[in-house]
Amino acid sequence: MTTSVGVVLFPGSNCEHDVVEAVKGLGEDAQLIWHGDQTLPPVDAVVLPGGFAHGDYLRPGAIARFSPIMESVARFASDGGPVVGICNGFQVLTEAHLLPGALQKNRGLTFLCMPVDLEVASTRSVLTSGVHVGDRLRIPINHFEGNYTCDHETLAELKGEDRIVLRYVDNPNGSVDDIAGICNPTGNVVGLMPHPERACDALLGSEDGKSLWRSLFTWALDRAAAR
C-alpha cells in the first residue's frame, strides 16, 4: 500500500516540491494542497513545508495560521493524523497552537544555511519512530527564525513527556536546550527546523533524511491498517 502525503502550499511556500520529490523518490505518493481549500483530500499524512508563508508578515506563521485549510489540518491532527511542519511549517504549527513555544530570530541575527548534525532524542514521534535515541543525522538547516523558545513550565513538560524529538549536536541558533524538533503529547504532530527532504540523495550531501520519512510512512500505514 502506498502512503499518500498531502503537502500544503501557502502563498510564499518554497520547499513544497522538495517534499514531493523526496516522498516520491522513496516510492510513496505526494500531492500539493492549496492553503485556500477548506477540506483535505484523502491523505495519510500532512506536511507543512518550508518557505515564507504569506511573506512572513507580522511574524512567521502568524497569517498562515488563519489559512482556510488550517482548520482541517487541526482536525486531522486531533484525529491522530500525522502532521509534520518543517522550518516555516514548524513556525506555523506553533502559531496555530498545535505545538507549544515559539521560534525567535537566531542568536547572532544570522541567517543560517548549512548542514548540521542532529541527535535523535525521542522515538515517540511520527518522524522518529523508526530510528534510535542517540542516532546522529546530518540534515541541512535554512532559517533566520529557528531559535526555539518557551517558558520553563513548557520546557519541563516537553522533557518530562519525552517530546523533544531532535537536538542539535552543536547548537547553531540559540535554541533552548538545543531543541531542533518537538512533538505534541501523542507524537503525531511534529515540528522541526532542519529539512529532511533535502537530505534524501547522496548527490545533495546526505541521505539521513530518508529514515525520518520512512518512519512517517510506517506510522501512517499502521494507522490506516488500524482504522
Binding site: L58, R59, A62, F66, T94, E95, P100, G101, A102, Q104, K105, N106, R107, G108, L109, N147, T149, C150, D151, G174
Partner: protein, 90 residues
C-alpha cells in the same frame, strides 16, 4: 497604536546587536536596548471601553505571539483628533 515588544526575559538579539554597536559611535552610556514594532490603525467602536476590548482581543489572537511578546495599546479618539484639527483651523 499597538506597540509590540518582546516579553521581559526573552532574548532580543536585535536590541543586543544595536547596543553593542553604540560604543563605536561614541554612545557609551546606553543600556537595555529593546526593539519592537508599532502597528497603527483605526477601529470603529461606540466608546473607548469597546475599542479597548476589541483591540486587546486582536492583540491576543493575532498581533502578538503571547509566548514571546507583550502589547501596549494606546487609544486616541478620532473625534478628539478631528476636534483638535477643527480647533487648529479656527
Amino acid at each position: 497604536m499597538v506597540e509590540v515588544s518582546l516579553r521581559p526575559g526573552i532574548a532580543d538579539p536585535q536590541g543586543a546587536t544595536i547596543e553593542r554597536a553604540l560604543p563605536a559611535l561614541g554612545f557609551d552610556s546606553v543600556h537595555g536596548v529593546r526593539t519592537g514594532k508599532a502597528i497603527r490603525f483605526s477601529i470603529d467602536a461606540g466608546d473607548e471601553i469597546e475599542a479597548r476590548t476589541r483591540v486587546d482581543e486582536l492583540c491576543r489572537r493575532f498581533l502578538t505571539n503571547p509566548v514571546i511578546e507583550d502589547a501596549t495599546v494606546t487609544l486616541t479618539s478620532d473625534s478628539a483628533i478631528n476636534g483638535a484639527a477643527e480647533g487648529a483651523m479656527r
